[in-house]
């Protein structure tokens, strides 16, 4: 398994040499969404706290580093940590309220949605950050400003983000922390009865997850150069993040990565294909259908099947 993972990483590292520029763009989206989904996986998958408002963390990270760069001249390489810290702060507030007041299931989902929507409405109505027109960054191509002439640099940055988050999750999973999160997901009351401070571990999961998502905001801002409140803070973005982890397998190390490798090309292709026919929402119909199918037929996601298939091949050889 480890050898296979190393081989896969090696392939991804040399791949840009042979890829077309369009294919590189598709891979950037695969890596980037895998990264966001992996960050969500910590609180949404491992700890089982279904946050449907992760777009808020991405948006805050994106706006913070973009504003700091354009208005104050601070390089996004530092700004990304400021954005991450601000997102973690919001994550702390949401987590504190949600977990302290014992909101579970539907109630926690609504709380996270409400916070994300408030962020979106505030951004839409604040002229200082561009309001409904959005906020734009002028392209300079200066690497110090997290801007690159060559698409392949974005490819490697996104790949690095994905690998770092996946590595972090792999480490966390093996620690006591990961075991506590899995136990909280399976039976929170039993966990509490055994004396585990569930509040503390859920908070920690939320803070790490929101911090990583906030860092992702910088990549979003300086790859796309335009921030629209409805796109950055909207529910659809949160759905994009969640659905990859669910389809791949929430609460597993490789689930979000697998989910992104399945869904990002599908989204990209159907977007180009359907958009040319004027069917703008069609790829989201596919998403909805997939979500329904996964819940009904593959509630553990695709990863357990992949793992079993790989294990069977190993046994055969």
């Amino acid at each position: 398994m480890r050898l296979l993972a190393l081989a896969a990483v090696a392939v991804l590292v040399v791949l840009p040499a042979v890829l077309s520029s369009y294919a590189i763009t598709v891979f950037i989206f695969i890596f980037f969404y895998a990264y966001l989904s992996q960050a969500w996986n910590i609180v949404g998958g491992y700890a089982g706290q279904l946050s449907a408002g992760h777009a808020a963390f991405l948006g805050i990270g994106a706006y913070a580093s973009a504003l700091l760069s354009v208005q104050a001249g601070l390089t996004p390489w530092i700004g990304m940590f400021v954005g991450g810290a601000l997102s973690a702060l919001l994550g702390t507030v949401i987590g504190y309220l949600g977990f302290r007041f014992g909101l579970r299931g539907f109630y926690f989902v609504l709380l996270t949605v409400a916070f994300a929507e408030i962020c979106r409405i505030v951004a839409l109505n604040t002229d200082a950050v561009g309001g409904a027109l959005g906020y734009y960054i002028t392209f300079t191509g200066n690497p110090r400003q997290f801007q690159f002439q060559d698409n392949r640099v974005y490819y490697y940055v996104a790949l690095g983000l994905m690998l770092a988050a996946t590595g972090l999750v792999a480490v966390l999973e093996r620690r006591r922390f990961g075991a506590y999160l899995a136990a909280i997901r399976q039976d929170e009351s039993a966990c509490e009865a055994l004396g585990v401070n569930t509040f503390r571990y859920k908070m920690l999961a939320m803070v790490i997850s929101s911090f990583l998502t906030g860092i992702g905001g910088t990549f979003y801002a300086f790859y796309l150069f335009s921030l629209q409140p409805n796109a950055v803070f909207g529910i659809p973005l949160s759905v994009e993040i969640i659905i990859r982890a669910i389809v791949g397998g929430a609460g597993t190390v490789l689930g979000p990565v697998l989910g992104s490798f399945i869904l990002s090309p599908l989204a990209e292709l159907s977007r180009t294909y359907f958009a040319s026919g004027g069917w703008t929402g069609a790829h989201l119909i596919v998403y909805g259908g997939l979500l329904i199918a996964v819940v009904l037929f593959l509630p553990q996601g695709a990863y357990p099947y992949l793992a079993r298939w790989l294990g069977a091949r190993k046994g055969a050889s």
Binding site: I121, G281, Y287, G288, V295
Partner: protein
Amino acid sequence: MDATLIAQSLLSGVLFGGVYSLMAVGLTLIFGVMRVVNFAHGDMMIWGMYLAWLLATRLGVDPYLGFVVCAGVLFVFGALIQRLLVDRIVDAPHEMQILLMLGVALVLENGALVAFGPDPQRVRSPLRAATVWLGPVFVDVARVVAFAVAMALTFALFLFLTRTDLGRTMRAAADNTYGALVIGTDVRRVYAAAFGIGAACVGAAGALVSPILPFQPTGGLSLAVTSFNIVIIGGLGSLSGAFLGGLLVSVAESLGAVFLSPSMKELVSFSLLIVILLLRPAGLFGKAVT
């Protein structure tokens, strides 16, 4: 602040509240009977609006008659959703149910986007233009009719739940599913009927507001959030709570639009949602829900 203006917005708040009540009663019925939160509630309402629009533009049926058809179509749709999808995961964790209904919501919303395009629509009704002056305030005839019909439907639903066998069985299954099974209730049939009725409520509500409120495919989320707000304020699963909550939220929104800027109206409803979730998750009128 002008007293007439406040009276005017109070009146239109109450009148619009009838539709809010109908919408929320449907959501709370589905939850009360099978403990499933219908995340697609707002998108079902949007489909009710588009059905009313199709009836009006293609067949010339006024939405104040067409709402019957909309309710019927949504009833069948809701019962099918229950039979084909929700029935398989009634006992699954809440997270899975939420994801499933989110999937349904995505299909409905974007199905509407593909079928009808992104531009806002409004159904024309001759009633829309008619207004009556009551002293200093005016009354929109369309709103009065929508209010009256919504109230009548809600009242009919209460009668159905308290006076008919199926209605009583539904309440019994809501109270104690296991007990209902023991005495030989066809729980699946009751569930399908409950989901169908819940969907029919929101289908009718959609048709009734289609001449008043401009609608577009992406509007489902905000309608769903409004319904969630109402049922949580009223207490999730409580029918009378949803009814009173609908009137309350509608009046609060229309007063909010007077005192604050209209774009801040949504901000008020989301903030209200957070406060209610934290301080009174069982709602103002509901018992604690486990």
